[in-house]
């Protein structure tokens, strides 16, 4: 587990201040999409060894959602960005 997260609003913080939601690369399917697409979106998750993008919430700090890119094997953190601005950049 990556133990120090550089929050873009609060600075370097211990991981205990955050709660982790999971994969940040998922895109919500169209409401009319097939049951399989929805099943995949809701239930099916990969468990990668290596680089992973996750949604973390800084629950005990600024309470903002962040996108944390980290390595699940080496614990290295590559980037931390505000989830709202990340979503805006992705055009969502």
């Amino acid at each position: 587990m990556a133990s120090l997260i550089h929050c873009p609003h609060c600075g370097v913080r211990p991981k205990e201040e955050f709660s982790i939601r999971g994969d940040a690369s998922l895109v919500r399917p169209d409401p009319e999409a097939s049951d399989e697409a929805w099943n995949d979106y809701v239930h099916i998750r990969s468990n990668p060894r290596g680089r992973y993008r996750e949604h973390w919430q800084h629950a005990a700090g600024c309470r903002r959602w962040l996108v944390v890119e980290r390595d699940t094997f080496t614990h290295e953190v590559f980037s931390v960005a505000d989830a709202a601005s990340a979503a805006r950049e992705a055009g969502r």
Partner: protein
């Protein structure tokens, strides 16, 4: 049936009525303080930040992007709310928090060593400068920590956590004989 609600500090039963002997490291607890939460409307963050910076005798504490806690010692909660509403009209949402938050003032030469027992953030004087404020985790309780002086910190906590945080601070400060009292200025 009408009820009369009496404002009561949550630590009233835990602190002696008469002020005790003050140690070098001291926990000072103001009995009443006007506190308001301010949240900027979408796109107005910079305007609200500038307005608050120019507002003079209130203390501004950062809680998140576009969100602040405003403290005032001299104003009543109603006055603070009215003044902020006038200052930030149509740019921010203002909610009175005077009964919802409790302020702790921790001061003394060992204050960083006391706080280090509960807070994992870097509080080195060169990193956490005077005037800095932020939400941090103290043990398992989320508090707003601000550095108000050379060796002086203020913690703002939700009222229902005040007793737990007080007990935690007592244990954290026991090594340094931390004393605790209600603030003399009320």
């Amino acid at each position: 049936m009408t009820r009369t609600y009496i404002s009561r500090h949550p630590l009233e039963d835990l602190l002696p009525l008469e002020p005790g002997i003050r140690a070098v490291d001291h926990l000072d607890i103001p009995r009443a303080m006007a506190i308001a939460a301010v949240m900027a409307m979408d796109g107005e963050e910079a305007a609200v930040a500038a307005g608050l910076a120019a507002s003079g005798d209130v203390q501004v504490r950062f809680t998140g992007p576009g969100e602040w806690l405003i403290l005032s010692q001299s104003e009543t909660p109603e006055e603070l709310h009215r003044n902020l509403s006038l200052l930030l009209a149509e740019t921010a949402y203002i909610v009175d928090q005077s009964d919802g938050r409790i302020v702790f003032r921790l001061s003394g030469p060992n204050v960083r060593r006391i706080l280090a027992k509960g807070i994992a953030s870097d509080l080195h004087p060169a990193v956490f400068e005077i005037g800095t404020s932020s939400n941090v985790l103290c043990g398992h309780i989320s508090v707003n920590l601000a550095r108000t002086g050379e060796n002086e910190f203020e913690l703002i906590v939700m009222r229902s956590f005040a007793v737990a945080l007080f007990n935690d601070l007592r244990v954290m400060g026991r090594e340094f004989d931390l004393s605790a009292d209600f603030s003399a200025q009320g």
